[in-house]
Structures are given as structure tokens and as C-alpha cells.
């Protein structure tokens, strides 16, 4: 037994056995709870900053009166029809993108495998634009089209990249994303909108088109989908060990992959239908969540990071330039591009993408 790591064993550990292991297992959970708590507070702060601050500042007492149902000329319209739905849409869309990205990144064991990089979000966007421009769809029809488009892209890139592994899938996906982005531009150029803001929504994402109907629809959909992230996370923890090890531990690998892909695709498509493919949120959330969570992936932390990125990005986009309100996707895109470069350089150096 001389080569065993006896020296590192604290006195009494062998006697305590299970209890000692229990303590070691609790430490990461405790850390995750702290991280989630602090992030939750930060997201709440950003949410209220989005609602209250900006070109039209609302005081907290006024906001509470509005919530109580009071009518305040000017403030009522701006808060109830504009700022509040935008902030809620940002919160929901960010959380949804964050979970979608973390699912794909953990499942394919590569941070580049997020739905916005591999074309799934653009598939949703292109289908939504086609539905609006070609078929005059509105509301739920746009969401259905987005889900359909995202699923078709997911099936297509999986089929095209069959037998080429995770890297093959990512390369095919990047190609699909570029093609679909061109398709969105083409469709919008054929439409008579001519409105730059509409174009921006479907190319890089924006909270400007928020309204209560979109918020309610997305909230209802997430209410159904997000609880599935719990059992999904369990399957992800298995798949993260690699297909063979996971199968050896009794995970049904093909079924788990199928269900997680479906969940990830829907979680990427639904917010896209409401706010466009907000650039790089899905891509950024997972790795940032891991960094905050001591390197371990967590869907809950990724959801909070996603919501935080969109709300912080929107705050900056709306207030950075006086009298100009940029779409949130411009800010998140500007943040995401350097991160993508850094990831490509650093993963190339260490010769692994995960």
C-alpha cells in the first residue's frame, strides 16, 4: 500500500467513511447555492434597473403605485407597455437561451456547440421570418414556425455530420448558420417592411418588439419546458462522462441525446420567435456559469447568467448612446465575438475544445 496517497488522508477520514464523503459531496452544492443566490440578486437588480432607469426614470414609489393598478400619465404607458414587458422578455429569453446553450455544450462536450453557433437559432429565425413575410403569420404561428425551423436545422446538421463526431457537427452547423443568416437577409429584403429595426430583430435579436402577448406565451412555454431541465440535467451528468461510460452506468444514451436535443432546440427556438436570435447569449452563458461554479456545469446557474447577460446588455444598449436605442443583440454580439476568438485561441493551444 506504499504507493497509495495515505499522506493526503486526513486523520479519521477512514473511520468516518460515508459521513466524510457526504461532507465532500456537499461542498460543491453549497458553493452552487451561493453562486445562484448572488446571481439571482444581480439579475433582480438588473431587471429593476431596466424597468426604472433610462431616458424616462420611474421612481420606486411610482412603480409600486403602477403595480397596484394606479394610472400615472406618461409613466403608465412607458412602464406597462414598454419597459416592463421588455425586461420580462429579456429575463425569460436570456434564461431560456442560457439553458439551451448549456445543454448543447455539455451534451457535445464542446463550448462551440451552442445553438446560436451551430445554426439552430438562425433556423428558428429564418422560419419565423418566412412565416411572417411569406405567410403573414402572427403570434403563436410565428413561434410554431420557429420551433419547426430549429428542429429541421437540428435534424439536418445531425444528418449531414453523421459519423464525423462533435467537431464535424459544429463545422456543419457553422456553415448552416451562415447560410440561414443569408436566408433571413434575403427574406427581409423581399418584404416591404424596409424597417431597419425589424431587420435587426431577426438578425441579431432585440427586446424592442416586446408586448404582453409575447411575454405570456414565452412564460407559459417555459413553465412547461424548464421543469424538464431537472431530469435533463441528470441525463447530462451521465452523457458528460462519454457515451460508453454513460451506457455502462445504465443511461439510455440514444434516448437521452434525442430528448436533450429536443429540449435544447425548443429552448433556443421559443425565445428566438419572441425576441430574435439574441447574439451569443446561449454561447456565453454556459462557460461563464461554469467559471463561476468552480468549473462544474449547472443549468440553473446558466439560466441566471443568460438572463443577466440579456438584461445587462439591454441596459447598455438602451442607454449607451443618448437618444439612440440599440437592439440588445448588438451589445451581446460585441461581447461574444471577442470571447469566441479567445475560446478558439485557447482551445487550440490546449488542443481540446471542452
Amino acid at each position: 500500500m506504499s504507493v497509495l496517497d495515505k499522506a493526503q488522508l486526513p486523520a479519521g477520514a477512514a473511520v468516518l467513511g460515508g459521513a466524510w464523503v457526504r461532507e465532500r459531496r456537499k461542498a460543491p452544492r453549497r458553493r452552487r447555492a451561493w453562486v445562484a443566490g448572488i446571481l439571482g440578486a444581480a439579475v433582480a437588480g438588473l431587471f429593476f434597473a431596466n424597468v426604472l432607469l433610462g431616458s424616462y426614470t420611474v421612481t420606486v414609489p411610482d412603480f409600486l403605485r403602477l403595480m397596484g393598478g394606479a394610472e400615472i400619465p406618461g409613466a403608465s404607458f412607458i412602464v406597462m407597455e414598454n419597459k416592463l414587458p421588455q425586461a420580462l422578455l429579456g429575463l425569460l429569453a436570456g434564461a431560456s437561451f442560457g439553458v439551451a446553450g448549456a445543454i448543447f455544450q455539455a451534451m457535445l462536450r464542446n463550448p462551440l456547440a451552442s445553438p446560436d453557433i451551430i445554426g439552430i437559432s438562425y433556423g428558428a429565425s429564418a422560419a419565423a421570418v418566412a412565416a411572417i413575410v411569406v405567410f403573414g403569420a402572427r403570434g403563436a404561428g410565428v413561434s410554431l414556425a420557429a420551433m419547426g425551423g430549429a428542429l429541421v436545422v437540428a435534424v439536418l446538421i445531425t444528418w449531414l455530420a453523421r459519423g464525423r463526431g462533435g467537431t464535424g457537427l459544429i463545422l456543419v452547423g457553422i456553415g448552416a448558420a451562415a447560410f440561414l443568416q443569408a436566408a433571413v437577409t434575403f427574406l427581409l429584403s423581399r418584404a416591404d417592411t424596409g424597417n431597419a429595426r425589424d431587420v435587426m430583430v431577426w438578425l441579431s435579436g432585440s427586446l424592442a418588439p416586446a408586448n404582453w402577448q409575447r411575454v405570456a406565451f414565452l412564460a407559459a412555454a417555459l413553465l412547461v419546458l424548464l421543469p424538464l431541465a431537472g431530469p435533463g440535467a441528470r441525463q447530462l451528468r451521465g452523457l458528460a462522462l462519454g457515451a460508453d461510460t454513460a451506457a455502462g452506468l445504465g443511461f439510455n444514451v440514444p434516448r437521452a441525446r434525442l430528448l436533450l436535443t429536443l429540449l435544447g432546440v425548443l429552448l433556443a427556438a421559443l425565445p428566438t420567435a419572441a425576441a430574435g436570435p439574441i447574439a451569443f447569449v446561449a454561447f456565453l452563458s454556459g462557460p461563464i456559469a461554469r467559471r463561476l461554479n468552480n468549473g462544474a456545469p449547472s443549468l440553473a446557474v446558466a439560466a441566471l447568467v443568460g438572463a443577466g447577460i440579456v438584461l445587462a446588455g439591454n441596459l447598455a444598449a438602451v442607454n449607451a448612446i443618448p437618444r439612440v436605442s440599440l437592439p440588445v443583440g448588438v451589445v451581446t454580439g460585441a461581447l461574444g465575438a471577442p470571447f469566441l476568438l479567445w475560446l478558439l485561441i485557447s482551445s487550440n493551444r490546449s488542443n481540446q475544445g471542452g
Partner: protein, 281 residues
Amino acid sequence: MALNSHPTRLSARNITLGYAGAPIVQGLSLELPAGKVSYIVGANACGKSTLLRGLARLLSARSGAVLLNGADIHRMPTRALARELGILPQAPTAPEGITVSELVGRGRSPHQGWFRQWTGADDDAVAAALSVTGTLGLAGRTVDELSGGQRQRVWIAMALAQETEVLLLDEPTTYLDLAHQVEVLDVVSELNARRGTTVAIVLHDLNLAARYADHLVAMKAGRVVAEGKPEAVLTAALVREVFGLESVVVPDPVTGTPLVVPLGRRAALLGAGASLAGAPA
């Protein structure tokens, strides 16, 4: 834990295994002796890892069947099977940021489900697995910061935490120095002695396999060319047939099991081959 009075039998009946192209293992039948440790040896690409994957249903047999106590493993629910049969694939990779206790805890997955959550018994199983592999002191560390040897023992701890009656290990000593190789194989032998676990190990090192095996299986080109007690099976003729290597087989000075001493061209150059071939046993 008491010695298992009904050790579990795992056998392959006329199985053909392969990936996209031509079959790698063809019409192979093998019965792992119940409650014993079998070592599977053979040259690179002889199909030994493929056979192990087939035995663990990581690969479906094109024809034939793998039977666990007489039942076809492909008809068993995956989680029920994972409570009976554990496999440690070759060179597994740990997710980034995972701690040792978490990774070993994943070995408890088949014992959990929708209604059966993590319990004290799971903690005890993890502690026991960490303890026998000498990794209890690493429980709070992340796997990324471990050395290759420590990491391999942690993976074996994960397979042990699964508490299966059959354990299949694919090259469990990869990346380990000699001391740790011996350590790992000792751990497996102790487990077998204590619990009566039926074990099959694919191993590159013929001499270690001969020393530790109750039952030695030699493979060539997807079929079994010899099997039995190492003393009965491992001869210079077998080494020539399986590895295409000229050697002298002498008794291991420590255990008396066969020890393969390769001749090699350098020994011949030095003129040592003749004297070795005639060396006293």
C-alpha cells in the same frame, strides 16, 4: 462482505461484432468463469476491446447473444443490467471541473431513479470504493488536478462504487507506472477475493496478466486461440502465434507463473539469444 455463494456467469454464444465494415469478432463463444478473474490478451487490433464492448452491450452483436446468468443482456432494461454488470471503458475522460467524490458518485447512477434518491448507503459505497483504491484523501479535489495514476484509480473507484457482480475493465493500467499497475491489479484481485465478483480485464502486459489471471484468454484476429490457466496456456508457441514474437517462457521467480521474456533483434545482435534460450528454468 461475504463471498458470493452464487457468482454471476457471463458468456458469449457465437457472437459476431463489428462497426461499419467487416466484422472484427466473428462467431466467438466464451464463458467467463464465474467468480474468477479472467484476463484477455492479444496483439493490437485483435478485437479484444471490441469483445469487451460486446460483452458489456456497448456494441450490439450482429448475431449470437451475450448471456448474463442465462438471460440475454439485450433484452434487459439498461439500468437493471448496469446494477449487475459494470464496465470501465479504455481511457475515459472526466468532465471538466468534476470533483473526485462526484465522479465516483456517478457510479451509483444505476441504483437511483425517479423515486430512489441519493442515500447514506450511496455515501458508504462511494467511501468504500475510494478507500480500496486509496483515493479517499482525494475526495474533495477536482479530477483535472490529479496525476494520471490517481485519475485512473478514481475511475476504477467509480466502477467499484457501481457494486456490480460482473466487472469488465478495458486496459485499466494505461498511463500507470509499474507500481501503480500492480496496485490496481491487486485492488481488483482483492475485490474478487472479498466479493466473488466475476471480472474480465483486457490487458496489454502479458506477464502481469499471467501473474494475476485465474483464467487467461488469448485472442487473434477476432477469435479465441487459447484459454485456460496461465500455466497451461502461455507457451512460447502461443506467444509466437498470437504476437508473432520469439520468446522464452520461464517461471516467474516470485509466483511461479509463466514469464515471457522476448528475444528481440537486439538480444540476437548481442549474441544473448542463444544463452537465454538455454537458460536454466
